[in-house]
């Protein structure tokens, strides 16, 4: 940017009377400055932003009442119009003049109609340039890309004048003569003469594209702009990694990949991230002459994505995104996560509200749990209740017998919610080992845990739990229980004990105690249902005796039990 201007673009205008009052231009520039700041600070729906834009449009109206176009000369600290300083700002940090000047602009011409479609685009460019790092595109480059209709500009050439001048050969200042006839004669001596033009070569139609060829070009161009370029470049890098065994080349690629991953993450290109992770693993499998150090170095790249810090940042970004990525993209990303990511995935699953991200994480969690049981078992054993509960739930969904011991241990913790999750998971698994762990639940302090445990033990015919159940039924603990819990216990008892329980149940249903007193109606109804579970002729006989019982709850239970539990 060292190009020297021999003349300021408006030097010749200085000293001339402006065609209209500079105050109009000054007012317009002040409004422009406010709009630039508002664009930087507020969203388009913010009233402050909208007021600033309205004010600027109003100033445009005033301006176009006087002229068709407005040309501003730009210096480091001033904007001039017709040689008159219309904006001066010595401080560079907030100066519009400096912002324009520093990128090489020396003159801007606004034309009527600029404010209709192009104002927003220019404000966007100015904002982008304000925030741009030194190596990012400058304003002149960006203005070219925008191809404005109602804005013209002059700028200093990037390459200073005089650099790379093209000179003609020195020999052409003097007259020379070539031997035309001689050369012609020499050519004629050889036959066939090379270079002789054959007119039959000039079938011009051969050299113009036909419709099929034009269609090929159009399709190829369309494909060019639909191509996933980052992914394409990644495929090149992994090809190189596999084919080039040179230490320095592989080291360079391994150094580049994390930067690319970061770039893709920042850009929200999750498919590219997924591809990078997946192909890192493939490249490790396929690369020629790959030593352990190179393999470890490459595998570190995908593994970093699964670490709690990195994945947490990523999920936070996605959760905060105004426009969330589509489900397919998220699934593609989460699909490549390894077992180490499961803890973070489960933690975020718990905290996220329902939505595409949570649904995607749910799917990822299920997949990770299915393929990483050891990690799942580890997570079940973590002191973190949220992780333990979520991990238990996954183990239940997967009916993973390997998780039963860890779930059984959870039944010993103080937190009732954790015990319930463990019981529910064990109930889902329902393997012999899981049912054995679940016996503990029969005497759990928490009603829910007890009910879950008792129901599944009964349903699965886990006779090892019978003594516990019988003790509960025959003891006094059941008296304080509600109907649901009592029913669960009695039904499980009936299912496990069979005919051996009939006498006790018959006594509970039909018998009378001291002073002819019967059991309470709820207990009798539960006994009826238990007899129904047994279903043998003696059990049905016991039920028939109570078919006309005066208590409606008992009568209903009896009828239901006789029908085999159908209401």
């Amino acid at each position: 940017m060292t190009s020297t201007l021999q003349n300021s673009p408006t030097t010749d205008q200085e000293g001339r009377e402006p065609p209209f009052s500079p105050a109009i231009v000054e007012g317009w520039l002040q409004a422009l400055g406010k709009a630039v700041r508002a664009h930087q600070l507020y969203l388009p729906n913010n009233p402050v932003y909208q007021r600033a834009i309205e004010q600027l449009r109003a100033n445009f109206v005033a301006l176009w009442a006087e002229t068709e176009q407005l040309t501003l000369a730009i210096t480091e600290s001033e904007l001039k119009w017709e040689g008159v300083v219309v904006a001066s700002e010595p401080s560079k940090s907030e100066s519009l003049a400096w912002l324009l000047y520093q990128d090489g602009l020396r003159e801007l011409t606004f034309m009527r109609g600029f404010e209709v479609d192009e104002l927003d685009r220019l404000l966007g460019l100015l904002q982008r340039v304000k925030r741009a790092a030194p190596d990012e595109d400058d304003l002149v480059t960006l203005l070219w890309e925008q191809d404005f209709i109602n804005l013209r500009y002059q700028f200093v050439e990037f390459v200073p004048e005089g650099i790379g001048e093209i000179e003609t050969g020195a020999s052409y200042g003097v007259e020379r003569q070539v031997d035309m006839q001689g050369s012609q004669a020499a050519d004629e001596e050889t036959a066939p003469t090379p270079g002789i033009v054959s007119m039959k070569e000039f079938d011009s139609t051969v050299y113009f594209l036909d419709e099929n060829e034009l269609q090929f070009v159009r399709s190829a161009l369309q494909a060019e702009y639909e191509e996933n370029l980052p992914r394409n470049v990644l495929s090149v890098l992994f090809d190189l990694f596999e084919r080039q065994s040179a230490e320095d080349v592989r080291a360079e690629i391994v150094e580049i990949l994390p930067h690319l991953m970061l770039h893709f993450l920042a850009a929200g290109d999750y498919r590219a991230v997924a591809y990078l992770v997946r192909e890192s693993r493939h490249a490790c499998e396929r690369a020629v002459e790959l030593d352990d150090r190179q393999r470890d170095a490459l595998l570190q790249v995908p593994e970093r994505l699964g670490t709690a810090e990195v994945l947490g940042q990523l999920l936070q970004t996605i959760a905060d995104a105004t426009t969330p990525p589509d489900t397919a993209e998220l699934d593609a990303l989460f699909e490549v996560l390894g077992g180490t990511a499961m803890e973070t995935v489960l933690r975020w699953t718990v905290h996220l509200p329902s939505g595409p991200l949570r649904a995607s994480l749910e799917r990822a969690g299920t997949r990770l749990a299915a393929t990483n049981v050891t990690e799942l078992v580890r997570l079940i054993g973590l002191p973190d209740r949220e992780i333990a509960i979520e991990a238990a739930r996954r183990a239940g969904e997967l009916r993973s017998p390997g998780a039963a011991p860890a779930l059984g241990r959870l039944l010993g913790v103080d937190d009732a919610a954790v015990r319930l999750a463990a019981a529910a998971a064990l109930a889902e698994i329902a393997s012999p080992g899981a049912l054995q762990q679940l016996e503990r639940g029969v005497e759990d302090p928490d009603r829910e845990v007890r009910i879950v445990s008792v129901r599944v033990l009964g349903a699965r015919g886990h006779r090892a739990a019978l003594p516990q159940l019988e003790a509960q039924i025959r003891g006094n603990d059941m008296r304080g229980a509600d109907l649901t819990e009592k029913m669960a216990y009695f039904e499980a008892y009936g299912a496990l004990a069979g005919d051996g329980a009939i006498s006790h149940l018959d006594a509970a249903l039909n018998g009378r105690g001291l002073f002819g007193r019967r059991e309470d109606p709820e207990t009798r109804a539960c006994a009826a249902m238990a007899l129904g579970k047994i279903g043998s002729p003696p059990a049905l006989e016991a039920l028939r005796k109570a078919s006309a019982d005066k208590e409606m709850i008992v009568r209903n239970a009896v009828q239901k039990a006789v029908r085999g539990g159908r209401s």
Partner: protein
């Protein structure tokens, strides 16, 4: 003939370039030409008082007035197959080719090269002007501008200036200086980038983008001058000059294939950087004067993928030049993915890479390099690219390339049937005249070299309808001690 030259919109100070606003001229210029075409058609079909005629004249007058008010001038200039509005060349496309073609025909038949509004034109002025324009005797070989001006004056119409057909020479000289500046800046910026990489520094891609924008503007406006400069073969700065040449050929080819401005820019950036990987090749290999041995050849073959790594090394840039990386990687591949490097994962060679491969192949074959002291002539290179399937260039792209540069590419030395020596200056855009380019006569029939010589169209005919000059033979510039590039500078 200063009146015939388009005036710049605004005089920029030395070292200052002007951009922007062309989009308006292009957009409204098409509207104006469309209105002009409609008015001409209406006048031809109906009497002037007809409402269709009146309406079309009113539209024309209004659009012209608006344009003039905004741009402070309205000049329509026909030059070869192009129409310029003020100094902007209007783009021909499927929507406007009929009006372009008709207006160019009318200019030719009327024997004029331009008309300019010198004041406000009423519908009557337009009626008179267009009627006189269309009543020309037809196929006027000579300048008819003065008689037409006289007829207009006789009818009381003084708001039009009519100029003679533009001299080819005049036309091209206008953009030659701009092309030279763009070319020199491009070589300088490319040298900066490649040298920076070679020294381990982070190069400045901004310069590359800026110069490519200049190349795209120049190609869109008048590509002949820039294409002419590709004949410069600076032996010492081959890598830089070659990169710029490939960029110019690629952008010009992209334009020929109908790419838009943004696509040309993307293509240009990729083309300019296609050999960036050579900055990692040892200079002793790159500049070895003799044939390369197998080991050295293997080193050279690394430059495509080294280009990818080099471009990826330019970290910190807001937008990673992915497209340039892909072109750098693929430009020595063939569409069937043979060539080098050999890809492992499935891929389809990008059309940008195919274009750059053709441009690269042509420029490399026709340049003198350390290990290629006897390059192909441009015509032989074209023949090789077209006819030798082992070169593996995309046949559609090669076909378009030949169509762009003509059978005799710019810079080809030819002998005419007049025994004059001539350098091909520009391809003929007319399909039926592909063998009749514009040439610069650089020696008379007795062998006296002329510098800078003069341009002639090989489509010129004499009174009997015979072509005045025809190419009969290609010639080797070295044989005559001719430095082709000098004639383009």
């Amino acid at each position: 003939m200063t009146q015939a030259t388009a005036r710049p919109r605004m005089q920029a100070a030395p070292g200052v370039a002007e951009r922007g606003g062309d989009a308006f001229v292009r957009q409204r210029g098409r509207d104006f030409l469309s209105a002009l075409y409609s008015a001409l058609r209406a006048l031809k079909l109906y009497p002037p008082e007809n409402t269709v005629v009146q309406k079309s004249l009113f539209d024309l007058q209004q659009i012209g007035e608006q344009f003039q008010k905004r741009e402070h001038e309205l000049e329509v200039r026909a030059s070869r197959e192009f129409i310029f509005l003020n100094s902007t060349r209007l783009r021909l496309d499927l929507e406007n080719y009929a009006s372009f073609s008709r207006i160019l025909g009318i200019f030719r038949e009327a024997g004029i090269g331009l008309f300019r509004l010198t004041g406000e034109a009423t519908t009557r002025d337009w009626t008179v002007f267009l009627s006189h324009l269309q009543s020309a005797p037809g196929a006027a070989a000579d300048d008819q501008s003065a008689p037409l001006m006289a007829r207009l004056a006789g009818a009381g119409v003084t708001c039009f200036f009519v100029g003679p057909p533009a001299e080819v020479e005049d036309d091209r000289e206008q953009s030659k200086e701009a092309a030279k500046r763009v070319y020199a800046q491009s070589v300088s910026a490319t040298k900066d980038v490649i040298s920076s990489v070679r020294m381990g520094q982070s190069p400045n891609l901004k310069k590359i983008k800026r110069v490519v924008q200049g190349i795209v503007d120049q190609i869109l406006n008048e590509e002949t001058s820039l294409l002419g400069l590709t004949t410069l073969r600076d032996y010492d700065e081959y890598t830089f000059v070659h990169s710029v040449n490939v960029c110019i050929f690629s952008v010009a080819l992209g334009r020929k294939l109908g790419f838009n401005r943004r696509q040309l820019y993307d293509l240009g950036v990729a083309a300019l950087m296609h050999d960036i990987g050579k900055s990692r090749i040892p200079l002793e290999v790159l500049t070895k004067p003799s044939s390369l041995n197998e080991e050295e050849w293997l080193i050279i073959q690394k430059h495509p993928w080294m280009g990818v790594l080099t471009l990826l090394g330019m970290r910190g840039h807001s937008d990673i030049p992915y497209r340039a990386m892909i072109v750098a990687y693929e430009h020595h591949m063939k569409p069937d993915l043979t060539g080098y490097p050999k890809p492992v994962r499935p891929r389809t060679m990008s059309i940008f890479s195919r274009i750059v491969a053709v441009s690269d192949g042509f420029d490399a074959a026709t340049s003198r390099r350390a290990y290629q002291q006897d390059p192909y002539s441009p015509a032989d290179a074209l023949a090789e690219m077209s006819n030798n399937p082992r070169r593996g260039m995309d046949p559609v792209i090669v076909k378009a390339f030949v169509s762009m540069v003509g059978h005799f590419p710019v810079g080809t030395l030819v002998i005419l049937d007049t025994f004059e020596l001539a350098l091909v200056h520009a391809a003929n855009p007319q399909p039926e005249a592909i063998s009749r380019p514009t040439v610069r006569i650089i020696s008379d029939s007795t062998g006296n070299l002329l510098f800078p010589g003069h341009l002639v169209e090989l489509t010129q005919r004499d009174a009997s309808g015979e072509y005045t000059r025809t190419i009969i033979k290609l010639a080797d510039p070295n044989r005559y001690g001719i430095r082709v590039g000098d004639y383009f500078v």
